[in-house]
Symmetry: C2
Subunit: 687 residues, 2 copies
Amino acid sequence: MAENQQVALMRKARASASIDTQELTSLLWGSERIANERRAAFERVEKALGTYDTTKLPRRYSETSREDQFEQGLEMGKVCLNDMVAFDHEHFVWITPRYNLVNASPFGHKAILFEPSIEHNGTPEQKAKWLPLARAGKILGTYAQTELGHGSFVRGIETIATFDNDADEFVINSPTISSNKFWPAGLGFSTTHGAVMARLIVGDEDYGPHIFLIQLRSVEDGSPMTGIKMGDVGLKLGYNEADNGFASFDHVRIPRSHMLMAHSQLARNGTFTKDPLRAKLSYSVMLLVRSKMPGIFSVQLAQALTIATRYSVVRQQGLGPADALNIEATIIQYKHQHFRLLSLLSKTYAMFFASRICDGEYNKLREMQSKNDHSFLPSVHALTAGLKAYVTSEAVGGAEDARKMCGGHGYMATSGLPDIIGALAGGATFEGENYVLWQQVGRHLLKQLDRLQDGDTVEPHAQYLAGLNNPNEACTAQGEQFLVPDAQLIIFRDRAHRLVLKAHAVVRATGKSPVDAWNEHMILLISASRAHTEYFIVKSFHETISSLPDHTSSGLRDILKKICSLFALSTIINPGSVDALSFVETSGDLPPYLSSPQLDNIRSLANGLLNQLLPEAIVLTDAWDFSDASLCSAIGMYDGNVYENIMRWVEQLPINKNAWENSGVQKGWKNWVDPILKGNVEGKAKL
Amino acid sequence: MAENQQVALMRKARASASIDTQELTSLLWGSERIANERRAAFERVEKALGTYDTTKLPRRYSETSREDQFEQGLEMGKVCLNDMVAFDHEHFVWITPRYNLVNASPFGHKAILFEPSIEHNGTPEQKAKWLPLARAGKILGTYAQTELGHGSFVRGIETIATFDNDADEFVINSPTISSNKFWPAGLGFSTTHGAVMARLIVGDEDYGPHIFLIQLRSVEDGSPMTGIKMGDVGLKLGYNEADNGFASFDHVRIPRSHMLMAHSQLARNGTFTKDPLRAKLSYSVMLLVRSKMPGIFSVQLAQALTIATRYSVVRQQGLGPADALNIEATIIQYKHQHFRLLSLLSKTYAMFFASRICDGEYNKLREMQSKNDHSFLPSVHALTAGLKAYVTSEAVGGAEDARKMCGGHGYMATSGLPDIIGALAGGATFEGENYVLWQQVGRHLLKQLDRLQDGDTVEPHAQYLAGLNNPNEACTAQGEQFLVPDAQLIIFRDRAHRLVLKAHAVVRATGKSPVDAWNEHMILLISASRAHTEYFIVKSFHETISSLPDHTSSGLRDILKKICSLFALSTIINPGSVDALSFVETSGDLPPYLSSPQLDNIRSLANGLLNQLLPEAIVLTDAWDFSDASLCSAIGMYDGNVYENIMRWVEQLPINKNAWENSGVQKGWKNWVDPILKGNVEGKAKL
């Protein structure tokens, strides 16, 4: 059969690249071996799930109800657990076979929250008792902190664990509607145990939130334990594979030994003790999940861009800037599409590499903490908070733009994009609401300036605040100098510095109460936190490039440098950039940091980079090595054969097959359409 | 029963307003009479659909499959048609009972596209034959233009209508996979006739796209006509009540008289004639839908903000800027939430009032065209294109931000927000892809400058381009002057002027071919078009205020002025504003248009407006008069009783009821959970 137009366009776009896909894949995933093992694991799981053969319509698109989606999540969760045991790997600990954060599995909390919460908060005896059971899957756990009425503000939770001295037990109770535990994955129907946050009450004393291990269901038959009512929260924007659930407790009794007591202890006689230093360790569970999110969300954004890029090189539209060989131009040739796709792609690479550096910092912290040195905690806390907030915001915005770039076809579920967007959309809220996190970063930065004023040292990532340079002094770079890493770094550094200084000045100087001053200048504080994080990302990209493995080819080095420059420069001049004014605003009557000619200079250089990177677009997305099954997209398959792929799936939709088996008439016709046609519905509605 | 905390907070927030809700409602909907008629129509339809009693879980959330959602759409479509006939009104011609564009109904194309396409393109005989049938509902029509492979570029469509001279018939055929008609609402299963765009082929001659009336299904029993294969495109991000469908034609024959021949004619002998002047009328069908979208999308954004505002005044979190009466602060008291909510609300009002002015311009055009004067067409075309692109972009972004402002609970389907966002998301693409539209506006603006250079007049909405002022000259306003309408107008006008001049200079001056020059500077062109449109919106708001009905109270006038100022000023300094740099960028070495102190001045004034408008927040959303059923939101009901409302609906979810009827065990337990617990799944995955 002759190659059709779309397949030919894809082949051509793929052939235009100068770099080797496999080399980049190995760099992204760590090594060629890891990349191959990943691919093999995905293939096995996709075969077990029946999604590997992408000529078949995925169940996700044929069985679409809330109930069906949950059922698919149960199957997916079990298949992944089986594969990790059978082949001894961890590829699905953090992500699902579609690159969602594993919270999208009914068993998602098992390894990333339930076990770590015991690991980090349990005594040696508690760990010895519970961890083997949890790891062996003899019990399935979830972590239940948030309540219907309480999210970020942990101190506000209402569930209570009252100590009954006579029985040596806690009585767990949900005193109000708003105290229903709400949101934990698997809490609805699929887990047997919960690490449940509740206020410890002893006599008249309220010792605040602590973690209690509570059996939720019978391990034998799944029936709920007496006094516990659980269920699902219903359909969501995403993560419908999981039964994010609620639970209310009606005077449920658990032994005293089920309170996790590594940091606080309740003795048999009701005496409460607390070790404030060790309590800092409990933060690191939260940091663990948060530190993983930037990487995962960057990769899921890369999925959306893979779909959009593939579609954009085969979709033709109009007599635009076509090359000589085609009649109609492909949509990637239009500058607005070209600009959005490649600047988003460069941002994805930037965020991904920054997440790698962040991983390293988290590991360093864990190592220090294991030696009881917690001094690095504030730095890593601020870093993960900022990066989590930045990446989750940019990822969902970027994926939504990827969807728009696919026009109508991106609006169909079968494009795969609505599911990706739905999953990414959750990231702004869970594991730390982004605006709460930005404020934590802001608080940290102002403290660093306080320390400087007091002559103290500042933490490594805020070191630039101690510099002697004046960030309000206009940028002096010209022409091609904007392509030099240092020039880019200085622009982002000075901007962050200006904003932090300005925020510090107004918050600390004001005559208002600290709380009111904070609230009044919150927008500025958030901008400062964001600029600080963006500087870290640009810096991380340059550091990644300067520490590439020796064997990296010069071609790949060159392309990565261009992607890095495109990220830095397009961020400055992208009409959609957040806080764009802060790149030029200085102070008082000083000239702007970047002049109009400098901005036009940057625009022109960004345009040049766009042209140089256009031939690499397909390889830059292929390199993530997403399987067709993981993308689950009729318009984003490797072959580029979009129209045939769409129609193949559409023809398998049950709604169509059922109608066609009934002479092409859909079952609602009789009830709803026929009466209109027969009923003389006079449309008085004139236009 | 004692009033709970949330209900008390809502009552308090509602009582804090200074203006009268009903006065604003009447202003928004046109008059008190119209507002009352609307409300009554919604109430009747909601009762017929069973959604009026909002203690009952809406079917939308209990029956969630693709098939179920379509069935709900059929019922909704029929109930609305019935009500409009029975009570002789037009409230559901453009919107559904949930304020979606009516394309979300399987019968949505009937009155807004099918009938107008006959009205505007049919000969008197054709109109006399078809319109009564269509209006009486004896036939149900859809408008089928886009194809699987062709969207915005109408000239590229592939479906052909070949004239068979012997039979005096057309043979309609789909020659390729990509020529499948794709997307029209109702095309899947629910319409009997289509106004189908196809290329007219006579002998060897291709006369390009024309509209043909084709019977798709039997009016008697709904079976497809011979040679036509139709079906649904599957689940989408939104609009799942409609069967957006596909159709392929296999040599389907229709009489010659079924080509709509008002502007082009094919005689019995195959002679083709065309009236170029009359052909301009065919644009106005497209303009009709496009001119309605800004209003509809603004109102749907108002829905999202109503939900988010109501939630924000009753949701408590943390010990922030609480007032004396509460322990925990409500989230609207946090400046980031306060700023985002009220600046979005001000934008919604601005866009809504602009859509009103746009409606007036469209009506003026239609009146002129009825006298065969088409001179106003380019102006209205550019205006509707720009406003459609602006509003649809801002509306989906704003609704998505409203969702984020509701934290986890906004992520639940039952919040109502995912459906609103899904519906708004379509707007960027359908009825003119936004980036295509921005370019049309840009082309129009450059033409206006060409005309000026040639000494010709320019159209009214681009009149400012003819001004003698130098838009690169720095703004001189200071202090409270930024609250004066003229000062705000000049800032937006000068910015648009600067961008249009700059785009004109680079596109026209370049040595490249016009197509390449256009493509190279496309980002700038789009910025210019957007700034032009934003200026129109600010201007429309001020015009609306200065032409309020005489009986308008001074209190309402004052609040509207503040909302208008908040829109103008917050757009300049909002960290998320698009094209923010263009407010300060001038040219060459000239000082910035706005200095850093001026920007801080604007920030401080915006802060003051935020504080003044905070007590009005609930009334500013109540005034849209959305029924609880139309919002379909557990967290956005009028009473503010969010936690009880959430749990009441959650407990009615079938997935929960089914489990509870089975001793609390969900049916997947046996297949997927039990084997893990019994199967010794060793989680080797260490962290």
